[in-house]
Symmetry: none
Subunit: 423 residues, 2 copies
């Protein structure tokens, strides 16, 4: 039996104009694939009445239609009324829901010290759902909901990605979606992640190992130096994917760092935890991004002690005890400064491991000797240190993102090297 | 006259499955907007025959249809043949194009040391275009092309973003696209940004001021406490948008912080620079995100000195000199600790302004007294300080993002308040 067909409709004028990148379509698509539903199409549409109506009509062609956005209190949040019109259903005020939204809105009105009367019309609007819809709960004042319409199940979720992701969990638990998913069969997925090797080398190894096809769909993609290989396994291809993964491990094992979807920050925290080590970062060009990546992981506080972002050189000297001579002779962007920063933060914050990053993020500040995109890193633990650097010209955002990922992998390598040499 | 309507069709199995993020849709949408064309819809679709055919049919509803991807030499690159079928046209080998592609392919065959015969069928396939198409030139071995079909202009471009972006320039210069663009008129845009007020209040003020329509497209959207109003101004609506902006300023002026698209981090850096003040952050729950946001702005180094991310409480005490008594009596998440952190980082990093954030990001660590989503902030400058807090239950990512934005606005308010009181 072929998997149920799904259409994702993402609404937002800023998205269809390209002013903001859509995160919801890809998130929902991945979720659908892993639930055994086939995402046939992602439609991004603005809030113009006609365009939205057209997109929702197409969405209803799918056995599952997931809609994101347009649930706010204002007049250009048109998803609910447009959906009701497309379905030929009335909008009905859900009184229990209205009380819930009122509660949240009264809290907001108090915090903002604005009269509740300003909020009341929006509350009534947001509590009005197409007949037959069931609320999935609130994101702020916006309710997600699910409804059945003929052969289709429609899930409507709020636009802000974290809230959409939270309510999507509830949608998966709802009766109509559960019944639909029971028809599909979640494919197995296998993820292999590599670091320190090129995308084409991994792609060639994959080809040499037999490549995709025959029930295995293989995707290779590069993200800030990491090469992710995703293998989606159709029914009956279990042995084939096993052989393929084995062959990749054999050829590329030195670069393989993960066979699940945990981000490197989580792996690093886990490695530190297992060895009873705490961690601190000393950052210049990444400006706190390494710390932010680590603290994005829930429960990081038992390992992560903190960071010193030393943007100004005298902060590097005073707070990280980088010797003035090192700064004067080698400069702030140098292997020597990186090493001193790692040692300094380890000492100052009393951490088991210190990791540092210093580089030229650009667009200004580059010189022929130290061009934009040159970055030095150092990781230092109780058993010694590891240094790394790269120099790849790119825009500021890319340089910072790559440096962040590279610094995390440096800590990972430091910890796994030590482990290897001690066994 | 309303601007020409465009549909963007993006093909790629890895895109519709969410394995990779689509960069072409947003790029093309921005390009279309700035050329005076209205992007009505971005459709992301895989390489299944039926889905692709459906998407292309819809694309042809637009006066301009831009298609990306599916131009490669292999059998699952189906864009050209499917487009020909949808248009009811034959595929015709373009012999000049064939010679061009053959030249590139012979080079590749030599580099890879594979016989050219392996490439010949792909060359023939890639040189076959729907009748009436004109090549825009090659990206690798894939030709971009443009054709006219009834009232529509169709532009077909290769999937890799850098090559798509290069050939898009050529498409803009082609006769059919130029003629279409001459009908449109690049719109003016106006952006107003508010903080400290609800989305619904801004929407109501916009309504009261006359709202969108009559040549003005108005979008209100909330991003982590900020309310952005985007006004896209059609031909002849210049006076109307002027009046609308004026009315919004009058009603909501207290909350208006920007009338351009610069992010708050950039405004804060500009305010500091204008007053000759440097800036440092002391962060707990945001884990470096405030510093990362500031250092994302090129040229931030003349204002931003650095940050202390004090995740562990003893780091707060030692590095930020938060008195042990304050931590013991009020706790790490308190207005008192926030104030001490701001003072501490200002002192330690020798900055003109110190701003701090401490809160419960969750999902763990909440208590009835200090629930997940409770965040305290403090900004301290030479003329005094400002405190703020919020308590809104949400997921970890949202709490951290909101706290980051709120901390930046706190600095902005500190600096603009001082300016107001000194004038």
């Amino acid at each position: 039996m072929s998997p149920p067909r799904a259409v994702v409709v993402v609404t937002g004028s800023e998205l269809v104009r390209g002013d903001r990148r859509d995160l919801n379509g890809p998130f929902l698509a991945r979720e659908l694939v892993s639930s055994g539903v086939s995402p046939a199409r992602i439609i991004v549409v603005g809030d113009s009445q006609d365009e939205l109506e057209g997109a929702l009509r197409e969405g209803l062609d799918g056995e599952l239609c997931v809609v994101s956005g347009g649930l706010g209190p204002t007049h250009d949040d048109r998803t609910v009324e447009t959906l009701a019109r497309v379905l030929g259903r009335d909008l009905v005020v859900d009184h229990e829901l209205e009380r819930e939204i009122e509660g949240v809105s009264r809290g907001i009105s108090e915090r903002l010290r604005r009269p509740y009367a300003e909020f009341a019309p929006g509350v009534r609007k947001q509590a009005s759902l197409p007949e037959g819809a069931r609320s999935l709960g609130l994101a702020g004042t916006a309710p997600g909901f699910v409804l059945e319409a003929g052969d289709s199940v429609v899930v409507v979720l709020p636009g802000p990605p974290p809230e959409l992701q939270r309510l999507w969990r509830d949608a998966l638990d709802s009766g109509p979606v559960r019944r639909l998913l029971d028809q599909g069969q979640p494919p197995q997925r296998r993820t292999l992640r590599f670091y320190g090797v090129s995308e084409s080398a991994v792609a060639r190894a994959l080809e040499a190992a037999g490549g995709g096809g025959d029930g295995v769909e293989a995707t290779v993609c590069a993200r800030d130096f990491e090469i992710h290989v995703d293998l989606v396994v159709g029914k009956g291809a279990e042995l084939r994917v096993e052989a393929l993964s084995e062959a990749l491990r054999e050829r590329m094992g030195d670069f393989l760092y993960s066979d699940d979807e945990r981000p490197v920050a989580e792996l690093v925290l886990g490695l530190c935890r297992a060895r009873g080590l705490t961690l601190a970062t000393a950052e210049s060009c990444t400006g706190g991004l390494v710390a932010a990546r680590l603290t994005a992981i829930p429960g990081s506080s038992d390992v992560f002690r903190g960071a010193v972002v030393a943007y100004a050189d005298d902060v590097k000297a005073q707070e990280l005890e980088v010797p003035a001579a090192v700064l004067a002779v080698h400069g702030a962007v140098s292997a020597e400064t990186a090493e001193a920063m790692a040692a300094g933060v380890r000492e100052r914050l009393g951490a088991g491991i210190g990791v540092s990053v210093t580089g030229v993020a650009g667009p200004g500040g580059g010189t022929p000797e130290k061009p934009v995109g040159l970055v030095y890193m150092h990781a230092l633990g109780p058993g010694g240190g590891l240094a790394a650097s790269f120099s790849i010209p790119a825009d500021r955002e890319t340089v910072r993102a790559r440096a962040t990922v590279a610094a995390l992998h440096l800590v990972r390598r430091l910890l796994t090297q030590n482990r290897d040499s001690s066994t």
